[in-house]
């Protein structure tokens, strides 16, 4: 069973896989940084922490790396939990 979900809605510590990234929804700079940090279809991700005072930004594991990113950008990343 898979369910479509955006990365910002993914529950904490639930391993998932990137199914699609909406590159057109972000600035060129954000897209480049996202690619440079290893975001790509098929890569495993996991949401780890949210910052205090409002829960933005998020700390997300992508591949073997942890990155900090704002929720608005995480919203453009579609994931599926592969149970």
């Amino acid at each position: 069973m898979t369910q479509p979900l955006s990365l910002d809605r993914l529950p904490f510590r639930t391993p998932a896989r990137i199914t699609a990234i909406d590159w057109l929804r972000m600035s060129e700079g954000d897209a480049r940084r996202l690619r440079n940090l290893g975001f790509d279809e098929g890569v495993s991700v996991e949401s780890l922490h949210a910052a205090p005072f409002g829960g933005d930004p998020l700390a997300v594991r992508v591949g073997r790396m942890t990155v900090a990113m704002r929720r608005a950008l995480a919203n453009a990343v579609a994931v599926e939990t592969g149970q």
Binding site: P15, M26, S27, G29, D30, R32, R33, L34, R35, N36, L37, G38, D40, V43, S44, E46, L48, H49, A50, A51, P52, F53, G54, D56, P57, A59, R61, G63, R64, M65, T66, V67, A68, M69, R70, A72, L73
Partner: protein, 613 residues
Amino acid sequence: MTTVPLIAVVGNPNAGKSALFNMLTGARQKVGNYPGVTVERKSGRLSLADGRPVELVDLPGAYSLEPSSPDEAVTRDVVIGRQQGERLPDALLIVLDATNLDNHLRFALQLINLGLPTVVALNMVDMAARDGLVIDSARLSEELGVPVIETVAVRRRGLGSLKEALSLAVTAEKRAPVPDEPFAAVQRRARAIADAAVAGDATIHRTSSVIDRIVLNPVAGPFLFALIMFLMFQAVFAWSEAPIGWIEGAITGLQGAVTDAMPDGFIRSLLVDGVLGGVGAVVVFLPQILILFLFILLLEATGYMVRAAFLMDRLMAKVGLSGHAFIPLLSSFACAIPGIMATRTIEDPKHRLTTILIAPLMTCSARLPVYAVIIGAFIPATSVGWGIGLQGLVMFGLYLLGIAGALLAALVLRRTVAKGSHQGFMMEMPKYQVPIPRDVLLGLWQRAAIFLKRAGSIILVSTIVLWALLSFPQPRPGESALDASIAGKIAGGLETVVRPIGFNHEIALALIPAMAAREVAVSALATAYSIEADDEAQAEQSLVERLQGRWTLPTALAFLAWFVFAPQCLSTVAVVRRETNGWKWPAFMLAYLFGLAYLAAGATYWAAIALGL
């Protein structure tokens, strides 16, 4: 002069590149700048296995050949031979973090595609093993087509084999470059190679994930952050007391020795009052500067700095910035120059410009001498309860005033002159590491050298020039030495401008040389009052005692308020000019900060008068 082969050390940020560079070159490093940009150029010499010397250059960490910041642009330009002031490297030494191979291989593949002779250092293999990752480096070498050497920079492991591989590389022929492989293809190839060469299913650095549960916890995280900041500023004052005493003692001793050894006259006065007095007043702050830098270096080396940026992002977003800006701003508490240079990692130009323009509002260490003298003279050393001293509280208030001013300025700037796109906040959070003492000491030594060079050049020259302007021409009988001097005449003009905000003649005088550097204000006041002293008893008074007799409290408070905002530092202006490619923004910065300083000093002065202080 024959040129020795050049090897560029390249890799992702946090791959342990600098640690490896330090391991290879030791302390024999040259720190300079690339022409036109303020990106630091670090280079060092290394003797290869066969005794041949090579030059190693440590390039800024980058994620790919598609640069996201001015910093990464330098890295790309060097490896493709287009960087001004740097020749095309003869070989590349690519540093890979063994625990993060799939991510780091992407950049490595792009670099290997360039066709330069290449050696790969597979760094931190010990940590990968501890994480349960087994890496087949022979397989990796086969897939990449270049030699792969396992290293642990922290323990100097792999040094010998690395030197041997580099000896072969510098004489090797260039391979044919692979033209434009699409990024997505490189991405997938990197993952495929990582999958083939790495066995083990560990997804993340375990220790880091445990530490992050505390450090990024919504309750414990902010508390820990506040504690670290408090400890840092507390240490700057508490730990520096003893070393400051030693430096003061040494300078007084030197002054005494010169006074005894030389006949009274101009040269002796120049040496004792001008050189030793002026430079000494500044060098005593070396301990505080070094303690602050020690904390910043440790926060960076441990990996905490990015976590702090993560925690601060929300607050920074409220004034139109992001967590990215936190790191340069924190460095600016030591000195705005490295702070402004650190903004080159910020991608968005408007965002970066705003950070540059507000960086001088962070209370840098050069303000400490000014604050310390005025607070020492005018704020009583009484307690306000709970063991908190009034003097410390005033100092804390001045820091807060600077921060509040900076946040407010950012808010206004982002809505006016630096209006524009809202860049997101995206940063790699490196795994936590125990800092390598040698690397921290090396960083500290490089900072100390920069500071002492500054004290020895700008500050020395401005102090001597001021001494000369203050000493000539000689006063006629009945005239004060100060009023008769050239500097006194110049200050007379400035005085009419600053009189309404409570400043007197001596302050006007001190503000002129303090344009070179804020801390010069202290030595300038000291020089002014000691030349003015007409008898022995007066000459022996300390600066604090002299100020107490001559300034009113409102004047002293206005002087403090002035220095919270005033951009009195030529080096900062020069760095802003270089960073923004022109005079427009440094001119703007000078205007808005002097405007703020004038308003703040005036408001403080008249409020204090109204309150009857």
